[in-house]
């Protein structure tokens, strides 16, 4: 993969990535995730995107206020690392490591939707990226556990494989590796989310065949050459939950360790997916407290059918499962979270005080990837045409014409994502509708800014690199 990086991805890498190659020292003044978040927000508010920073006419008005700590000199220094970037990409490509940014269509949908602007700006990976769209069961736990728990974990991995569910885990020793090994040995799919050493792990002979066969994908938000770092491991946990449809904590210390912190954060704050704790091996203080905090007891399914049931549980009885957080870059922040907003989930109560947020529930317990919620332009939300994988999101005013066009828009977005623009006649043929109808739709999408029609080569293509959608 990594054929050509979009200018947005190039800009984000230049600003935030250490770009480790050879004996090069890492740049000390990279934008931190928080700083990049502020910059991205500022760009969004001024209708710009990161790629604009690479333009010869980039001016200082692209920058947030000086007090943000992101001054023009620092930005220029970072953006001036273009030659280093090309060296790094060469290094990654030689190792079949790909890179996606939040600006790319390939960026894992669940992560983007659930973590919003806290989603890592860059993900590195090796293997089939589309595995990340399959959700599955996150299995997490400590590094040091006894053999019985390892055995249980491997068995659950095998069962997941038989049930056709992906296992999401962290690749660390102990529980992570047991879960992954169990699933892989049974022919299942695994998404491994690493906190360090992606390059080394991907080059491991044991993984190579699995990566090539598309059974395993390894990703990391950290430079492929980066070594172990405690802080990174904590951040990585969020990603594991965000990629899955449900999570199982096999073991946990109480009040310490990454497993504890990650699970507690989910239960107290994020609530991205239903969380289970594995209580079948007697008592564990850590697991018991997580249970008290709202994690469900793992029902210990023994067959694929009852295994599937664990994904259908409600997330939790607590009032809201939509994390309260600001909109992702690209949302204009004006989408109100009131009954007049068109997209409401059944179980959601209008809340007295909550920042704008989006329904996230549509993803849980459902293998269908519901890109729509995030992708459809705001215009569509106003028209109330959204329905997504299985969950009908009821709109206040339902208009069949708008609903149809909403579907058209989504289909076109997939269709016109190609490398080369498509001609009207090709689009008409692919949709099996009249040329006249096709033209009407395409013109409307061009007017909306979803699609553009370049002159050379002539045709229609999805508007490029939309970080903000």
């Amino acid at each position: 993969m990594t054929p050509l990086l979009s200018p947005n991805t190039q800009a984000i890498l230049l600003l935030t990535a250490p770009l480790i190659v050879g004996r090069g020292k890492t740049t000390p003044d990279l934008l931190s995730p928080g700083e990049y978040k502020r910059l991205a927000r500022h760009l969004r508010e001024t209708q710009r995107q990161p790629a604009d920073l690479l333009s010869p006419d980039a001016t200082t008005d692209l920058l947030p206020a000086p007090q943000s700590g992101i001054d023009a000199d620092r930005l220029q220094r970072l953006l001036g690392r273009g030659f280093l970037l090309s060296q790094a990409i060469e290094h990654w490509q030689a190792r079949a490591i790909w890179v996606v940014s939040r600006a790319d269509a390939d960026y894992p949908t669940r992560v983007k939707m659930r973590l919003r602007e806290d989603a890592p700006a860059i993900l590195y990976g090796c293997g089939d990226i589309s595995l990340l769209e399959t959700g599955g069961l996150a299995i997490v736990g400590s590094r040091h556990v006894d053999d019985a728990v390892i055995g249980d974990t491997m068995a659950i991995g095998r069962l997941a494989a038989r049930a056709g569910r992906t296992v999401v885990s962290g690749g660390a020793r102990g529980i992570d590796q047991a879960a992954m090994r169990g699933a892989l040995e049974a022919g299942g799919n695994v998404s491994g989310v690493l906190a360090d050493s992606l390059e080394k792990t991907a080059m491991n002979r044991e993984h190579r065949g699995l990566l090539i066969d598309g059974q395993l994908v390894l990703i990391s938000p950290y430079d492929p050459s980066a070594g172990f770092n405690v802080g990174n491991a904590m951040q990585r946990n969020k990603l594991i939950y965000a990629l899955a449809d449900a999570a199982l904590v096999m073991s946990s210390d109480l009040n310490k360790g990454g497993t504890w912190a990650g699970a507690k954060e989910q239960l107290d704050k994020l609530r991205l997916v239903p969380i289970y704790v594995h209580l079948t091996r007697g008592t564990s203080e850590g697991l018991n407290v997580l249970h008290d905090k709202g994690a469900m007891a793992w029902p210990n399914p023994q067959d694929t059918e009852s295994f599937g049931d664990v994904f259908d549980r409600a997330v939790s009885p607590t009032p809201t499962m939509t994390p309260s957080r600001p909109p992702l870059e690209g949302d204009d922040g004006s989408i109100p979270d009131t009954p007049s907003a068109t997209v409401l989930t059944g179980q959601r109560e209008p809340q007295a005080k909550q920042e704008p947020s989006r329904p996230i529930s549509a993803l849980t317990g459902n293998q269908t990837v519901t890109k729509q919620i995030d992708d459809v332009p705001k215009a569509a939300k106003e028209l109330g045409d959204i329905h997504s994988g299985g969950h009908q999101l009821t709109a206040m005013k339902y208009n069949p014409a708008d609903a149809l066009f909403g579907s058209v828009r989504e289909v076109m977005r997939q269709l016109l994502r190609a490398q080369e623009p498509m001609k009207e006649s090709e689009v008409a043929a692919a949709l099996e509708v009249s040329l006249a109808q096709t033209k009407v739709w395409l013109q409307r999408l061009v007017a909306e800014g979803v699609v553009e029609n370049p002159k050379r080569p002539a045709g229609y293509i999805l508007k490029q690199s939309r970080l903000f959608e």
């Binding site: 979009s6 800009a11 190659v21 004996r23 740049t27 690479l54 001036g80 030659f83 090309s86």
Partner: protein, 226 residues
Amino acid sequence: MPYNSARALQLLRIGSGRIDASFRNGQEAAIRHIVEGRGRLLVIQKTGWGKSFVYFIATKLLREAGSGPALLISPLLALMRNQVEAARRMDLRAEAIHSDNSDDHADIEDGFLRNDIDILLITPERFANQRFSAQVLAPVAGRIALLVIDEAHCISDWGHDFRPHYRLLERIIHTLPPNLRLLATTATANNMVDSRWTLTVSAWLLRSHGSGEVWPIALAQTGYDQ
């Protein structure tokens, strides 16, 4: 980065050793284009037109404004002694690493790492060398301000003189972000450079910016087809 026209002319006169020298048609436009960072540039000119003044003066101006060093890749380094002399006259620290000066390699590499060299001239083979890449290039890579690809017709199957190590260069150019200053030059003899070739190379340089934005490319072609 603002372009200083008076200083550029002064450098030309110092470098050429002629007090009344003035820029040839297209030369100054090319230098300005590079210094201002206006996008990739392909210069096709006959031997003797003064392509080397374009990148030497541009490098000097960039260095005087505090930029990092330039890297020039050429298969014909041994033939560039005269040009390097001209560079030194304008107080530009230019060094070449090639097979005829092996004894100096270690010193030159150290100088490059210390930021004591303004423009380093290397061959495509050196550029592709693992040790050189990891130990000499990598530590400086984040500061390189200008990449010059001399004899650009050697890249891949564009041209008549394909060299395998230009494959790496081709990939590198593909992955460079649009804001990295890139100058490709070629002195292919007149009758060999037809307009179709020019179009091919230009299209290729453009394409490698990634789809979407088209960044400007200027062709300093003046004088070539007269």
